[in-house]
């Protein structure tokens, strides 16, 4: 069965194609209502910029990078993506609650310790955060939304992300299988 979850052995996840159509309709609504697709890493950038601005305001203003996201008195947190990501947080929680998937736990391969998983996750997060700034968007902002608008950047980013992940998959197999 295509929607069978090989990890949990349960079938509580939605059929992936159905979930894909649902996600696609959300994406379409985002385009129809706001003219922009979905995103995630931008909200994290807003958090970082706000942090820098609070700790070292002069530094933030002098930096070529941070200053791009500071507009007068308006906090960088007052941005569209931040609210959207708050929505993701709530939406994910609702879905998890409905499906009974809530729980404070670490998901990992039995071959590694929880600590190792956390370190790997944080490293991966750092790489992803860095890469998302370099590539001007993450999987949702650049690849998914970009592909929906048929932009070359979307296809290139998508292929770079998944291609590299496939290439490196072999070296990290111990952590997952």
């Amino acid at each position: 069965m295509s929607h069978h979850n090989y990890i949990t052995g349960k079938t509580k996840y939605m059929n992936p194609y159905l979930a894909g159509v649902l996600l696609g309709l959300v994406l379409l609504m985002a385009f129809y209502l706001t003219g922009r697709g979905l995103g995630a890493s931008g909200a994290m950038k807003s958090v970082v910029v706000t942090g820098i601005e609070t700790v070292a305001p002069t530094k933030a203003e002098n930096s070529d990078f941070y200053s791009k996201y500071i507009q007068g008195d308006n906090s960088p947190l007052n941005s569209w993506l931040v609210f959207q990501v708050l929505g993701v947080l709530v939406g994910g929680f609702l879905s998890g609650a409905l499906a009974g998937r809530l729980g404070w736990k670490t998901e990992k391969s039995p071959n590694i310790t929880s600590k190792r998983r956390w370190i790997l996750a944080a490293t991966g997060g750092a790489l992803f955060g860095f890469g998302s700034q370099f590539g001007r968007g993450c999987t949702s902002g650049a690849a998914l939304s970009g592909m929906a608008t048929l932009s070359v950047a979307g296809f290139v980013t998508m292929m770079a992300i998944f291609g590299t992940a496939f290439l490196f998959a072999y070296f990290f197999r111990k952590n997952w299988i």
């Binding site: 069965m1 929607h3 939605m14 059929n15 194609y17 159905l18 159509v21 649902l22 309709l25």
Partner: protein
């Protein structure tokens, strides 16, 4: 599994229903040419005077005046399409026919406006008569 498929169907039907509902309420534009293309179109020589008219063969005169004014004074053989009814279905039939249509009556400004609007919509063989 089957339930999932049904939900998928319901979602798709609902969404496309919503799209259809939204589109049906919208006024579609029927302008054939873009503004940039109209710049070129506007350069064509479409103004004729009475002398030119005598040389023209097979044309129809279309008068844009209000019906009351049209009754009191109009060219012989002219038909009346008041400016306000320019885009009604009956009028469109006339604009769409193959004959050369010479726009007369009303103010010169209205004649040029009518010419521009109809040309933007893709109607051909239109001329404007100069006083």
């Amino acid at each position: 599994m089957n339930i999932n498929i049904k939900i998928l169907g319901v979602i798709i039907v609902f969404f496309f229903g919503l799209l259809l509902l939204l589109t049906s309420r919208m006024e579609r534009s029927h302008l054939k040419y873009t503004a940039e293309e109209m710049v070129e179109k506007a350069k064509t020589d479409y103004v004729v005077n009475k002398v030119d008219l005598q040389r023209l063969r097979g044309y129809m005169l279309v008068d844009l005046q209000e019906p009351q004014l049209f009754e009191s004074d109009h060219f012989e053989g002219a038909i009346n399409i008041p400016f306000a009814t320019l885009l009604e279905e009956d009028s469109k039939e006339i604009w769409a026919n193959n004959e050369t249509k010479v726009i007369t009556g009303a103010t010169p400004m209205e004649r040029h406006e009518a010419w521009m609007l109809l040309t933007q919509m893709g109607y051909e063989d239109l001329l404007v008569l100069q006083n």
